[in-house]
Symmetry: C2
Subunit: 191 residues, 2 copies
């Protein structure tokens, strides 16, 4: 290789992620990312083709990290506790920052400027992954018998609930309320 990339790719993608996360896909301009990363717009276009492709690259890393951390939070031997830990993780993640950053995947799902099929597919992949993790956990011996409804249904209710919590965070800005709602659901699913 000759004309080598001058900027730190890892760092740049991280900055891009932060901007996309905070402002959302549609409201983020390439200039925003250029400013945040210190890489000129032209270089970004040269390296990543366009905004959508750059975003997909960023989202890939985000999803991977998110799933890895989520899996860790589901580790507690008591199912109810594991689920609360899981919700706690997502809530902490979305209420981090000032102003709070919310949830990148949900922002993207709702963003009308992010309706391309590639983005949709990436979103589905992440949500499917989260649902799979939840299903695995609540299908375990100890959980299965305690569930109020079949594990497949419970997993879908749980994953849908995380999305709802994200929206409520935007409206009420109250993490405690979110945790309480999550705990209520867990209570109902594991009576």
């Amino acid at each position: 290789m000759v004309g080598q990339r001058q900027f730190d790719e890892r760092r740049t993608l991280e900055r891009a992620r932060d901007v996309f996360w905070l402002k959302g896909y549609g409201a983020t301009s390439m200039q925003d990312i250029a400013t945040a990363s210190g890489v000129l717009r032209g270089s970004l276009y040269n390296a990543y083709r366009d905004k959508e492709t750059l975003f997909l690259r960023v989202f890939e890393g985000y999803a991977e990290e998110f799933l890895a951390e989520a899996a860790r939070t589901l580790g507690h031997p008591d199912v109810a506790r594991a689920l609360r830990d899981f919700f706690d993780f997502t809530i902490t993640s979305m209420t981090t920052g000032e102003p709070t950053r919310g949830c990148l995947s949900t922002k993207t799902a709702i963003d009308t400027k992010a309706e391309g099929e590639r983005i949709r597919a990436a979103l589905r992949e992440l949500i499917d992954g989260m649902e799979r993790l939840l299903l695995e956990r609540i299908s375990a011996e100890d959980a299965r018998s305690r569930l109020a409804i079949p594990p497949e249904e419970a997993a879908r209710v749980l994953i849908t609930m995380t999305r709802g919590i994200v929206v409520m965070e935007r409206v009420y800005q109250d993490p405690e309320r979110l945790r309480a709602t999550a705990a209520s659901l867990v209570q109902a699913l594991l009576p």
Copy 2:
């Protein structure tokens, strides 16, 4: 009055609502609304001051109508059926149109370009109203005893779930799946 408004205000606000609903607040331009309504941009600015004020005006009508219809759907004497009817109404509402329009309040809640305090307040008002309706219904004699968790908590879980369903609609475009998820939750809350 002398210089009277030339355009049909009711019709214009309806068109504006449709555009906001489809594209979301941030992605909608005044020109979009001008085109959809046939009213020139200048007239819109003259009549409504700016985009945010116009939106608030539109949202007011939307919220009122939504609450009225939601209240109607909760009327069935059997609680479980009433709740399913309620979810059915929201799901039908968001999957109407081609492409499906989703949910205006959720789109607005997530839109980073709609972070003004007036808009936030309007959103809270609507969600509070929906929660109140749900709480009233499930606090009724017949329901209270059947609930797996206290009615206040159940109401909050339910309203949060509607928001989650909106997000899942965006990702999977599958109304049946949404209805199934809603039914699962109702099943868990009313065992």
